[in-house]
Symmetry: C2
Subunit: 907 residues, 2 copies
């Protein structure tokens, strides 16, 4: 009763102090958030669509459109909307047409549901106007009693009245902290400070005072994570916190990436291999790039790509790859710490996950029973509470699993063929363009083909991404996971698998396969008998990988952020509005000024879950970690994207989506595993990129094994094999040639025996030694980096020191508080009851307790020696022994568990 | 009061039912375990040594040798020993000589300690006889009140009266279970069944009825882990459970190992390489094995080792290495599940680790303060409770760390030089023996040298093992870890590092270094200018690795088990007895018949902790996993050892050590990490053993790249390079030769260019291709096996299904039980108090609660939709929305956290 009065103060009018803080909240909008009585707050709104012909007649229970109220209304409160009955519920029965059986059932379901809500203690308010058809809103209010009961169920921690001081650090550390705090000041959002968390005034002030921050004024500030959590719940709070940590850690990665890039830029002039390539005196005549149509060419014409490729293919890249692998490990560790800190400050430490049966599971259960038993059985039978013991057999699940496996294999096939189609496109278009008589077309072959192909790739990726998202959801429903958590995990895993494959397949192709199956002059590999397999650019495959990666990464982020995340929701909303208008062209225009808050909210998009947001970031994390050896600027682009992304996401959550249901969560769930898996995978991928895609290893091998001067001079010559032009297959010799008249040998990039050796065109000893060095590097890199990552993870403690100290302190204090309280209570109860209970009853009570406590006997040592107030003299040495069973006993039994302790407690 | 009476029943005489179960417990030994009053049970015994001249005079507090009693004794109980005062404590002051200040301080410390024990509610009994000097025993009894208080502190779970039925499985699974249970029956120890755990009778019966099992009657049975835990506590219980799981899982590993071994045995006749080696027609003349003294030799003379090496070096070994890596992953997963099951059945699920300051930390804290402040400060200041805020600075810790690092490096050096010394021994002895004129000595060179060297290695390992154990303890004390857990972890890590290195250094040498730095004919590597580096036997290094591994493993186990674990403790005990006798030659003989249980217990060895037991097993696990590719029988030997080891350990714990203090533990701590680290390390080691130590890869490369027939024929010829004998350095040609007269080329095992090539004796193309294949295999093996292990770990759920189901059920039931109880209590209290409290007070009460509960508002959805009794109609679809702040608000703020929910709760 009393609690109703208090809430009425908010919903009706304010008292002094509160009113000051709520000055800028307009009266009207406040009104909207209350029941018609203006007192009880609307906590939740249910919506259903009803039709004109809906009827009640003939249904077993009566239908009431009523305002249910079980509170009494004190005077002195404006009640301008209160047209419904005050104490007797208004009863309106609508009868417009013949009953529709489907509608009738729906009404039954709804009524049962509402009845259950009332039984659970909730208060319900229906719309009082009765439109012919449209949306009906049911508003719920949860009274204090219900809330406290549920809090107990959920084991929600609450602050006790006992408080304690956090220890201040002294000396250097404190000064450093202070300096850091000052430096950080401008980046802190203007919200009440964290420390005020437990003071009462904070709740009031943080609600309506954040009116100075807006999108681009706040992009460089920290996020008010605690407020996000308060409004949206822990799960969304954790997402934003995670995004924050990720973005923050991208800053050092970007800085190092930029340095690495500039190192390449600064050393390009002094780099001997690219100098040699650009040196026109070293007249390397290369074999033609295509059959017949192409001419021999001079290597110095590829000077540009050689210089460009040095930007990304230099020794600093190796360092950067190692750095980024450690960065990934550090990021995960850092997040673990942050998560634990959040768990602590959000009082989630003792939280236990609750299992909720998934919707698909229940439906499947219903269905499986319906098919075996009477179809007319009432729906009530299929509730999880009654069917808790029922299980789906493997026969129910088998078809789902089979479809799953085959679909995923099919999707793999689709992705691979998409990649292959683009390859075919590239091969054919470049062959066709090379045959074109126009010299301008000819000179732009590579640029045109590469650019168009990557764009096609990008478009395919974006389209398949959407399709795969839907397919994953469909497949997961077929699997019928038992709980919601399970459902989500499986969905995420599948979606991740498909989308990851989709986004990375073309990149993997360029990194590890392109140019490796092209064959050699005189023995090229052909597809469709006519088209030669493509080779990498003369500068190496790394520059192509870099182009591919940057275009896909940037394109995906820009297009998905702008078009998909902002455009499509707007479009959807428009569609829905149009649809609604079509359906009910009259009602939509009635009383626009009187539309309630819930009408406005209903117009917003429903919340789809965090999966797409996380997925986008995880795929981005892949770009940042997996192929970072080939594109050191990836972290920078990711950083720029994320700074905007955080704000866009926040704006979307606050203004464009319905308020999501708050969900408690201790961690980010399976995403952490995916991140950690990606981190591990990135090590091996980077090892392969450095050793196989880049020229790092061949250069090292040349310098230390083959170079006579010990420098890189002569490297280019060393990497080029000789080909005797007389060995060309008939019909593949260049038809028109300006260089080829007096040429006997052309060169190609490979380690093969020269035509004059005993085994012409076989792999040379150099090939095998470079291969061995490459493989050796992979082993070294992988194991070194994994060991270092493990070391990083081991050195950084999971629980921040201050948190663990506070936890310890809190525990001690809680024990004290509760012990005192318990003692008082016990004394009180004893004094009250001792007269009523007989001696026997008391004894009985004691014995049953004693039995169960026998175990604690064995922990006596702790009691004796470790309680601080007992062991005052630990510096002295006392020999300790526990009594055992007698020797005679011991000799008789091998396992002589004559634990006297246990026995005693039982007597 | 009542509890004392009940205990007296045990200590004094029994009532009917209890007596039956304790029939076989002799009256006398039972008496021994009670206080002199025959009623209160001895729970704990403290011992100290006092000296003749000990005095009390002048000490601030009085000394009392007294029987403290705070219970009243009912009649009808024999009290034959009760000579001390009944209600007034007997006070005896001994004054024999002049006061010794050190003794006086000790007495003060002791008195303070005893006083604190009494304050904590414990009851204390002193010896009543006062010998001149010797051991004094203080017996403690913990009354019921103390136990219950401590149980609350430790959050010990107790069974409630509510019980539930576990669901029976039906169908095939149940039948399978039944069959399995039947098959298992003979292996179950004859102890009361697990299910009876919570019945009251069990406690009584399991104490004294295990008289039929003894050592060799029980070795094939499961261990009674629950009983072990009851008597020794969780920590030791977990050790035995872990040992059980490990031993059990060694069975399949042994079986597969034996199969692999027999596969090698069966295929040795059909193996082409060993046939070729034994074929005397293929007259390979090998280069001499030592300078001058050795002659050229025919490869067919090494036929024996070639055949032996096939036993361990065959394709099945590769399979076995993969199998064992997966086995290790499986073992860890299996143990995790077992651990969780044990946690559940031992009610440890909610347990929180308690931090106990380590002894060294406190002493160091005392010391650091003593040096800075007044030395005369009383000891009381240095208590952890008062000095909780004090910290050791890095200046206190630095010397410890420095000594640590340098000592560990020094130990590394010691181990390496030990290994190197043995190498020198081998090289010199074989050179000397080769020069011996006696042909018999010459022919036995290899056998003699290998055998003696391995034995020297073994002895060195055993000696260093003991030293390193002590060094690790010393180093850890220097580090001054803060808590006991910390102390133990660091000690274990250090000891493991040193002992692991010690045990494996010679094995690593043989596996990866032996024979790789020997050079080639004409360019051998010499140590000390005179002795050629040793090479592997002609059969390959694998057979030597196998010999080394098996001797060290078996020798270490046999010697450590028999001599160190059984012999040395007995020796120590003898020493101690002799010492005691020397010290007090008279008292030791007085009244041998009247010696109490605690006198007998005191004669036993004190318990040293589980570290040595675990360490032994972990080193063994290393033998089983790390080099298993070279010795498939390792699991079998480990299994045989462990079956005995479990029983020996059990016997030792029960009969030869003082009863250890029970320690609660949820897991095996850092040992799990070490195990998992070893598992990962074993993958890479096995990869290297297979690809570099064995001949597996060269054979594959030959068969698929070089063999003209596609078979292994010609392999031996392919692996042998040519050497032109005229290229021998002067003085290294065999002096006396029977074969070498008409020889121009001798052969040696390596891939090098022949003398007639352009680059004579350089590594050939074959060398590089084999190297590349070896490295490629390492990458493939490592990544494949790691992926498979992760898959295994992922597929096996950590929490067994039945446990997770039971946990869920228990939670639901607990909620119900407590809700009902709470309701009743609340009603009672309300009815009692409602009259006394004013309206205002009640309101105040409500408001403060309400504030803290605001968070639960946001979880309304759970309340509305997920409680089974509410959501009866989930099959129907209802659209849900949560109210948001007004649009106007939202537009104004970017983060418009106008969370009405929070605001409302505050009003």
């Amino acid at each position: 009763m009393r609690s109703v009065v208090r809430e009425a103060k908010l919903c009706g009018k304010m008292d002094g102090g509160v009113a000051n803080n709520m000055m800028d909240m307009d009266q009207d909008s406040r009104k909207r958030l209350c029941f018609a009585d203006g007192r009880r707050k609307v906590d939740y709104v249910l919506v259903y669509h009803y039709r004109k012909r809906s009827s009640v007649r003939g249904s077993p229970s009566q239908h009431r459109l009523s305002i249910i109220s079980n509170g009494s209304y004190p005077l002195g409160v404006e009640e301008k909307d209160q047209e419904g009955g005050k104490d007797e519920p208004a009863e309106v029965v609508v009868d417009v047409g013949p009953p529709d059986p489907a509608d009738g059932e729906k009404i039954m379901i709804r009524e049962e549901f509402e009845g259950n809500l009332k039984d659970a203690g909730l208060e319900i308010e229906h719309d009082k106007e009765n439109k012919a058809h449209g949306h009906a809103f049911i508003r719920l209010h949860a009274p204090w009693q219900v809330l406290s009961r549920e809090a107990e169920f959920l084991k929600i921690k609450v602050p006790t009245k006992k408080s304690y001081e956090l220890r201040e650090e002294k000396g250097l550390a404190a000064t450093m902290n202070e300096v850091w705090r000052k430096l950080n000041q401008p980046f802190q959002p203007k919200v009440p400070h964290q420390e005020q968390e437990h003071s009462r005034t904070k709740f009031l002030s943080h609600c309506f005072s954040r009116d100075k921050l807006h999108l681009y004024g706040a992009f460089y500030k920290y996020q008010p994570v605690d407020l996000i959590r308060k409004y949206f719940g822990e799960k969304i709070g954790l997402y934003f916190a995670w995004l924050g940590v990720y973005t923050q850690l991208l800053i050092p990665a970007s800085v190092v990436g930029i340095i690495v890039f500039f190192y390449g830029w600064a050393t390009v002039e002094t780099n001997i291999p690219s100098q040699e390539m650009c040196d026109e005196d070293q007249n390397f005549t290369m074999c033609p790039l295509c059959d017949r149509a192409c001419d021999y060419w001079h290597l110095s014409t590829a000077c540009g790509t050689a210089r460009a490729s040095h930007l990304f293919d230099n020794p600093a890249t190796v360092f950067f790859a190692i750095f980024m692998s450690l960065w990934a490990a550090m990021f995960l560790e850092h997040w673990k710490r942050r998560q634990i800190s959040l768990n602590y400050s959000w009082d989630l430490t003792g939280m236990e996950e609750e299992e909720v049966h998934s919707h698909t599971y229940i439906v499947a259960l219903c269905y499986s029973m319906l098919t075996t038993e009477d179809k007319k059985i009432t729906l009530n039978v299929f509730l999880p509470s009654q069917t808790g013991h029922e299980k789906l057999t493997w026969r129910d699940r088998l078809p789902g699993y089979l479809i799953n496996i085959s679909s995923i294999l099919f999707m793999f096939g689709v992705t691979c063929s998409a990649v292959f189609s683009v390859i075919i496109y590239r091969i054919t278009i470049s062959a066709l363009m090379a045959m074109s008589p126009d010299p301008e077309v000819k000179s732009n072959v590579r640029v045109t083909v590469t650019a168009t192909a990557v764009i096609i790739n990008l478009v395919v990726i974006l389209i398949l991404d959407e399709i795969y998202g839907m397919v994953a959801a469909w497949l997961t429903e077929l699997e019928i996971p038992k709980t919601e958590t399970n459902f989500e995990e499986r969905l995420i895993l599948k979606a991740f698998l498909l989308k990851f494959m989709n986004a990375y397949a073309p990149i993997f192709y360029v990194a590890f396969f392109k140019g490796r199956f092209a064959g050699r002059p005189g023995d090229y590999v052909y597809v469709f008998n006519d088209y030669r397999m493509e080779e990498c650019a003369p500068g190496g495959c790394l520059i192509e990988l870099c182009i591919q990666l940057s275009i896909i990464m940037l394109g995906k982020q820009l297009i998905q952020n702008n078009i998909f995340e902002i455009g499509i929701p707007k479009l959807k909303k428009l569609c829905r509005t149009l649809k609604d208008k079509e359906r009910a062209p009259k009602e939509i225009v009635e009383q626009p000024g009187r539309r309630q808050q819930w009408h406005l909210d209903y117009d917003l998009e429903p919340f789809d879950g965090l999966t797409p947001e996380y997925m986008e970031m995880i795929i981005q994390f892949g770009f940042v970690s997996l192929f970072v050896a080939s594109f050191p600027l990836a972290p920078l682009f990711a950083l720029l994207n994320n700074v905007i992304e955080i704000r866009l996401d926040a704006k979307k959550f606050v203004t464009e989506l319905r308020r999501p249901d708050a969900i408690r969560a201790k961690d980010i769930g399976i995403w952490y595993n995916i991140l950690s898996g990606l981190g591990k995978f990135s090590v091996i991928i980077n090892a392969f990129v450095i050793s196989f895609t880049s020229d790092f290893i061949p250069r090292l091998v040349y310098q230390y094994m083959y170079s006579e001067t010990g420098t890189m001079h002569g490297f280019i010559n060393h990497t080029l094999s000789y080909f005797n032009v007389s060995n060309f297959k008939p019909g593949t010799v260049p038809s028109i040639t300006s260089l080829g008249k007096d040429i006997t040998f052309c060169r190609y990039k490979d380690y093969r025996e020269p035509p004059w050796s005993t085994e012409p065109y076989q792999f040379s000893k150099q090939y095998w030694s470079v291969l061995a060095a490459r493989l050796g590097f992979v082993i070294l890199f992988q194991n070194l980096v994994i060991t270092m990552s493990m070391l990083v993870a081991w050195v950084i403690p999971d629980v921040p020191k201050n948190i663990s100290e506070q936890l310890k302190k809190e525990k001690t204090l809680l024990v004290d508080v509760f012990l005192n309280e318990e003692k008082e209570k016990l004394q009180l109860i004893q004094s009250l009851f001792s007269r009523d209970l007989t001696q026997e009853q008391q004894e009985e009570l004691k014995v049953s307790d004693q039995t169960s406590l026998s175990v604690s006997h064995t922990y006596l040592k702790r009691l004796v020696l470790t309680r601080p107030h007992i062991s005052t003299s630990l510096c002295g040495k006392i020999c300790i022994t526990l009594p055992k069973c007698s020797h005679k006993e011991r000799r008789r039994n091998f396992y002589s568990h004559c634990s006297i302790v246990d026995a005693a407690a039982m007597s």
